[in-house]
């Protein structure tokens, strides 16, 4: 039957093509043994899974740029004890499922560790894989559930400060200024949700009451409905947990409806974009943030000052723009890993152990002190309070 043979060929082609393309994508599956026996000047392979496009691209892009810059710089100066770094960056398009597949590819290529992902959801989705494959992972996202419960996160670390750290800075400010009726507005996503959980827990038994709680979508174009409720609630201060552009739109609306109470934002707005997009309405806004945005204003004897200034100088030179805290998270993740690699060599288990032993590591987001119970390593002293004054960040503390 001639028809069957030509027909069979057509189907066969498609099927073979598909399996073949998948196998090409998988490249050569490297087993554990090959990884361990790296000698001489063999490159150290590391992988990064970042949210470069999609919803969290404003986080992933500066992270990618920072990583590329750091690898270039490190390799130009000879790498780690002569071993150059071979970095593969993959874009998960802010999609959890794609992130899972991306991390599996990277692990199979024999990467020693994974940097990523940029946001909490995409990071959480990769955890099962790195735990079962026993590959160290350093996330740049904020959710505390990324590194907790510690009994199920031996291989997972993160560099972004926990919301709890930022919230406690805000609470201190509130107490100092006798503000105990607050309105809390937050983005209706993982970031905002975690902020809400943190502040609800923090104000328990503190004498501070949340008299108004409002949400809004990342895509919302106008938050005046929520703000009108705040106006009638009797709140003495408004705290907002969001990132631009919605954070900027809200700030503009805030001014429009004539709310005269202080406006406190989260570290999510710690970049110049927020101020620009708010078109003048951002003046007076207070927020807790890592020291990067006010690096020039912190005292010279601060252990982070040198590291911050050198990062700003390098980044500005290469990309003609100031770096922001997201890039900072990537800087920290990369250098924590390099630090561990120097001591442990190309061995995943040893790298994991060294990461856990990291003490007094001076990074962009703070000074890291890791323990087996704390895979984030940052405390309240890693953040400062700043205020926007005439379109610029000013340290207040």
């Amino acid at each position: 039957m001639k028809k069957t043979t030509t027909v069979l060929k057509g189907k066969l082609w498609i099927a073979l093509l598909l399996v073949l393309s998948l196998m090409i994508s998988a490249c050569s599956p490297t087993k554990e043994a090959e990884v361990k026996s790296a000698t001489g000047n063999e490159p150290y392979k590391i992988g990064a899974v970042l949210d470069i496009s999609g919803n969290s691209s404003s986080l992933g892009v500066p992270e990618r740029d920072t990583l590329l810059m750091m690898v270039e710089k490190l390799n130009a100066s000879g790498g780690i004890k002569g071993h150059p770094i071979d970095l593969t960056i993959m874009d998960n398009k802010s999609d959890e499922t794609e992130g899972v597949l991306a991390v599996k590819t990277l692990i199979e290529k024999g990467t020693l560790a994974i940097l990523g992902a940029s946001s909490s959801g995409t990071s959480m989705a990769m955890i099962k894989t790195v735990q079962s494959e026993k590959v160290p992972m350093i996330s740049m996202a904020a959710a505390s559930s990324i590194v907790e419960p510690t009994s199920e996160r031996q291989w997972v670390y993160k560099t972004a400060q926990s919301d709890i750290v930022m919230i406690s800075k805000i609470i201190s400010y509130l107490k100092k200024n006798n503000l105990n009726k607050i309105a809390f507005l937050y983005m209706n996503n993982s970031y905002g949700d975690n902020g809400k959980k943190a502040i609800t827990a923090a104000v328990k038994d503190s004498g501070i009451n949340i008299v108004a709680e409002e949400k809004f979508d990342a895509n919302d174009k106008d938050m005046t409905p929520q703000l009108t409720k705040v106006k009638t609630s009797g709140a003495q201060v408004a705290i907002v947990w969001a990132i631009p552009p919605s954070a900027s739109i809200l700030t503009k609306n805030f001014k429009d409806v004539g709310l005269a109470i202080p406006l406190i934002h989260s570290h999510g707005v710690g970049n110049q974009k927020f101020i620009e997009l708010a078109q003048g309405a951002a003046d007076g806004v207070i927020l807790p943030i890592g020291k990067l945005s006010v690096a020039r204003q912190i005292p010279d004897n601060d252990p982070q000052k040198k590291v911050l200034e050198s990062y700003i100088a390098d980044y500005s030179k290469k990309y003609n723009a100031e770096p922001n805290s997201f890039g900072g998270y990537a800087w920290d993740a990369f250098n924590l890993l390099v630090n561990a690699l120097e001591k442990a060599g190309p061995d995943r288990v040893a790298i994991r152990d060294e990461l856990e032993k990291t003490q007094g590591f001076v990074g962009i987001s703070g000074v890291f002190n890791m323990t087996s119970q704390d895979h984030n390593g940052l405390k309240e002293d890693s953040a400062v309070l700043v205020q926007v004054e005439q379109g610029k960040w000013k340290l207040i503390e």
């Binding site: 496009s53 404003s58 409002e214 949400k215 005046t224 409905p225 929520q226 009108t228 900027s248 739109i249």
Partner: protein, 291 residues
Amino acid sequence: MGEQLLQLLFTGLTLGSIYSIIALTLVTTFNVTGILNLAQGEFVVIGALLAVSLQGTGMPMIAVFIVSVILVAILGGLLERLTINRARGASSLSMLIITIGLSISLRGLALLIWGTDTYSLPAFSKGGSLLMGGAALNPQSIWIFALVAVTLAGLYGFFEHTFWGKVVKASVYNQTGARLQGINLNTISFLAFVAAGGLGAAAGVSIGPITMVTYDMGFMLGVKGFVAAAIGGLSNVGGAVIGGILLGILESFSSGLISSGLKDAISMIILLGVLLFRPQGIIGAIRERKI
């Protein structure tokens, strides 16, 4: 309380103006070509992004507006020739998927050229919000309504009083008859997409000052515009505009009076209600005419 309600109304009108203008372009294309153009949102975004770049060169806003409109109109026409025209005769589902594919590609293009940044556009008139009765109204929304009104008037004038308008109407009502009269349906489809592109850009430049511009906002705008059009009844442009305003006010009031998390849910429930019990839309029954 009264002040709060007034503020919610104003916000609703601002949102509504945005939804109306998008719904208007969707319905026009749909009625003229029978294709639901899911890439309409991307036309809006690309128009806005072009405006951002042009404005950065120091061009006056009027010129920026006109140039953006022309460029995206050309883009619309080009895409129609390359894709829709080639696929003539395909099922409506295939056409829909072609527009989905176009919207995906355009989004990728926008990402490539303009990156993931959020940009702002200057409002058409200086000065902040207008305070009326204790509530603030964004003056840009007045501009948007003006644009909507001008477009509606233009469409009415075109279809009622010009030769070509009548030609298009004829082809919509009876394709075969129109063909027999020697009317070239391909040209009409082409012109419809040119118009969709141009109107989309006009919408983008107008709403940009309120919404800020990001490469991926096209999708949500398209969906909201679509919902607005359905509420108003997909069959006529006036309905689309009213549907947009209703949707905006609905969202604003749900947000302010009930809960902001559920505001989209409320719009969806209303939409489902309309579809199940009154599919011609709220306005559709009153006026059966399509254009």
